[in-house]
């Protein structure tokens, strides 16, 4: 009988996953017995996220490989865990007042966000395709439920169903791609694949190339890049707003981390065969995202299309595939987290119980009634567009310079052109806020936690833009 190799177990390097799983289960149980008041559940969730962020630093001398080379703790994964815990904490803080207003009383909501974060950590730290698949599934299943958590709202149901059906379909593509790559190389370990494909004989197998194409389709769906973006506007629109913000940041960052690991770290040798394909996807994402956003009248759909175009920019970091690419990728995701949570925070603040005020026309004259809110919304939108000296500008600058260093000048020129296009619709919202007469009454109750998130996001957006050096130092070392 063949001997089964027992895996090299290293629970310390798995600490963030374990800590967060325990807290997620604790939330689930506490919620059973404390039915009315959600304060305790929310408190436990936030403490759990904090502990997770701390436990990410349990290992020194990075990178540490464990579990037969299928799990790694390196600078990239530690930094991504920071982004995940930050975005989950912001999502939970945003949800507190929103859930009260919209009557979402399920404690599972918080547990699902924590479990989704577990999946994201696995996704960003795995170096084995099976583990990547598991991570993607954990993340997706939690998100399907979160998107449909407002069970009485048909829009929310539609979002969940569309996301589920298309997501399951895309997972099939991803898995098929992994199977073909396994067929070509005989292993699912990214490290081994990287070595094996140095040989011309394996690298030029049609199986391998088919696998790569299918992997791009699968990942492309998960990050919502064109032409696999059709679900994004509907799902972002129908999901509860804090979940939308969460989806646009955390899971997307996790999918990009895996994307980077599979393509830029494991298959740089094969880049001639996937580079041009990703370039096309990136350029299409930018153009279709931006042109699509121009035509939107709903603020959530506008932000959804804008996030499609941002996927295009971030893909450039994957295409650049140098160390500057990975550090600009994490910097971009961090900056993007602040901008998106800020913008959606304002969207939540403006809404009220019966009317969520999601039309752009609803923002008319906001500057006359609530000048501070109009200013912060403008800052977030301009930062999304890439206006100096805000975070969005620095983030884009680093991605573009990483690509220029690798010689992708045309790609960068197209990306800069797109940034200019994107200002049209970001400015449109600002024009509504500052230059139109108010149409109806604003009934804004300043929910403290939501305001707190907006303030954090504001500090982050301005801070990363004006003093990017400390964070950049971290991402590069």
């Amino acid at each position: 009988m063949e001997h089964i190799p027992s895996p090299t177990v290293d629970l310390v390097s798995l600490a963030p996953v374990l800590v967060l799983s325990v807290f997620a289960m604790m939330v689930l149980l506490v919620d059973l017995y404390v039915k009315r008041d959600k304060t305790l559940v929310i408190f436990i969730s936030l403490v759990g996220l904090l502990m997770t962020a701390i436990s990410a630093f349990a290992k020194f001398d990075l990178p540490v490989h464990s579990f037969n080379d299928s799990y790694v703790v390196d600078e990239l994964s530690v930094f991504f865990i920071m982004i995940f815990t930050l975005s989950s904490a912001l999502a939970i803080l945003l949800s507190i007042d929103y859930n009260k207003r919209e009557g979402i009383r399920m404690g599972e909501y918080y547990s699902l966000i924590l479990l989704c974060t577990v999946g994201m950590i696995l996704l960003a730290s795995s170096t084995d395709m099976i583990m990547i698949f598991l991570g993607i599934e954990i993340v997706s299943i939690c998100l399907y439920v979160l998107a449909g958590i407002r069970r009485s709202d048909p829009k929310s149901n539609e979002a969940a169903l569309k996301y589920f059906l298309l997501g399951a379909f895309a997972t099939g593509f991803l898995l098929y791609g992994m199977t073909l790559v396994y067929g070509a190389t005989g292993t699912t370990k990214l490290g081994l694949i990287a070595e094996l494909i140095r040989e011309e004989q394996i690298a030029s197998k049609p199986l391998m190339l088919m696998g790569i194409v299918l992997l791009i389709i699968g990942f492309g769906f998960k990050v919502a890049s064109v032409p696999f973006h059709m679900w994004a506007p509907d799902v972002y629109h129908g999901a509860p707003t804090p979940v939308t913000a969460f989806m646009a940041v955390g899971p997307k960052a996790a999918a990009f981390a895996a994307f980077f690991r599979v393509f830029a770290e494991a298959m740089p040798v094969l880049s001639p065969s996937w580079e041009s394909l990703l370039c096309i996807v990136a350029v299409l994402s930018m153009f279709i995202g931006n042109v699509g956003a121009i035509m939107q009248t709903n603020i959530k759909r506008l932000l959804a299309y804008s996030s499609v175009s941002h996927v295009g920019y971030i893909l450039i970091a994957v295409i650049a595939k140098n160390s500057l690419g990975s550090s600009s990728l994490v910097f971009y995701m961090l900056a993007y987290a602040f901008m998106i949570f800020g913008a959606f925070g304002i969207v939540i603040l403006i809404g009220r119980k019966e009317n969520e005020m999601l039309e752009i026309a609803d923002y008319s004259g906001l500057a006359y009634k609530h000048p501070l809110m109009a200013i912060s919304m403008s800052v977030f939108l301009l930062s999304l567009g890439g206006m100096p000296p805000l975070a969005g500008f620095v983030a884009k600058f680093y991605i573009f310079s990483a690509a220029i260093k690798e010689g992708f000048v045309t790609l960068v020129v197209l990306a800069v052109l797109n940034s200019v296009i994107s200002f049209y619709y970001y400015l449109k919202v600002i024009v509504y806020m500052y230059m139109k007469e108010p149409e109806g009454e604003f009934q804004i109750s300043l929910a403290p936690m939501t305001v707190f998130v907006v303030v954090i996001a504001m500090v982050g957006t301005a801070g990363l833009g004006i003093f990017p050096d400390p964070i950049l130092y971290f991402t590069q070392h």
Partner: protein, 117 residues
């Protein structure tokens, strides 16, 4: 290759027997359809209503919950076989696994997933 030959021989014989029997019964069998014979269930009881009506699928939830424990047992078989090699570590791992499933069970119970009405 020889074992495949016998398997395929068995398959051909099985398919052949079924085909011949079906053919013979359609050719030779008497055919006199009447009302009692054409009712959906030939059990002598007159059908009460259309079978297409709506009915609660509560049992579906229970069936889904059952899967959890199904998988638990399936997972235990290979574990039990290799327990000698895994030693104490294997035992602890299984305790953790069952504890997690136990939490799921408590959750289901507390949420009223096991109540019929």
């Amino acid at each position: 290759m020889s074992e495949y030959f016998f398997i395929s021989l068995a398959a051909i014989v099985a398919i052949g027997v079924v085909a011949v029997l079906l053919l013979l019964s359609t050719i030779l069998g008497p055919r006199n359809p009447n009302r009692a014979k054409l009712t959906p269930y030939e059990c002598g009881i007159i059908p009460q209503e259309e079978a297409k009506g709506r009915y609660p699928v509560r049992f579906a939830t229970l069936a889904m919950l059952f899967i959890i424990f199904d998988i638990e047992v399936v997972f235990m078989y290979p574990w039990a076989v290799s327990l000698g090699e895994l030693k104490l570590f294997g035992l602890l791992e299984m305790v953790v696994f069952i504890a997690i499933l136990g939490i799921a069970y408590i959750y289901i119970w507390g949420r009223g997933g096991l109540e019929w009405d």
